[in-house]
């Protein structure tokens, strides 16, 4: 099983033209074995069990390499700073992955009942939010695809 993960990682690195280093392999293994949504600090703590000399900076850098290559994704598109929503009316948001602006979308009639049904019974729902991520009109002109 460990072997499977290792060879899977090596193949992914070949595909993405990434160097296979011991640190990257250990970080990848840790990620795949953590079933929740870990923070860099939590990943660092776990990896240190196996690799006590790794630095937090290396974990951050490795995560960014993995994110850029598409090996993993991040949950929040804009974890950097608190952003306020003065507009009290119900609407959805578009997040620009380039300039990080947030654009209000026109209200749309999305049926979220199936989503609500997927929430476990003992969970209390406050509200549902629908978000679209991509590149806004202003940035679209100069956008260079990540595949290029």
């Amino acid at each position: 099983m460990g072997q499977t993960l290792d060879s899977q990682f090596q193949q992914l690195c070949r595909e993405k033209q990434l160097a296979v280093t011991h640190q990257r392999l250990v970080v990848y293994r840790a990620l795949m074995q953590m079933c929740d949504h870990p923070s860099p600090e939590q990943i660092y703590e776990r990896v240190r069990g196996e690799l006590p000399s790794i630095s937090l900076g290396t974990v951050y850098k490795t995560l960014h390499v993995f994110l850029a290559a598409g090996l993993i994704r991040e949950v929040s598109p804009h974890h950097g700073s608190l952003r306020i929503e003065p507009n009290a009316e119900h609407h959805c948001h578009f997040f620009c992955l380039q300039c990080h602006t947030i654009t209000d979308l026109e209200p749309s009639e999305v049926d979220v009942v199936p989503l609500m049904n997927s929430v476990p019974e003992n969970f209390q729902v406050d509200r549902v939010s629908l978000e679209v991520r991509g590149v806004c009109g202003h940035c679209s002109g100069s956008f260079v695809s990540a595949d290029a």
Copy 2:
């Protein structure tokens, strides 16, 4: 128009049992006049134009007071730290507003076409994310409503 905003704010404060201070009024007015999704720093900059002696700490505290009272909302439920998604399969998330854990939801059949149609034509869509915010099962037992 300024008068309308001011009296609206005073009524909101009475309802929520908040003291009406000059600083809070100026912050509220600034928020209602900013049509995008400002960061605390941007709000601070704007408020300083009218109230040069206000401190950034006061802006933060005032925003938290407004958020707790429901006068405004925040756009991102988890802007604090990067969170990694090792699970590559498509699924939705539940964010616990108390313990900040992220729970994967079972895939559900939500029709997002109306949402896609609300995105302006010159925007490029990367992906859509559906999120539910509330209180998870683990926290539900000890949960005390904000209204209590």
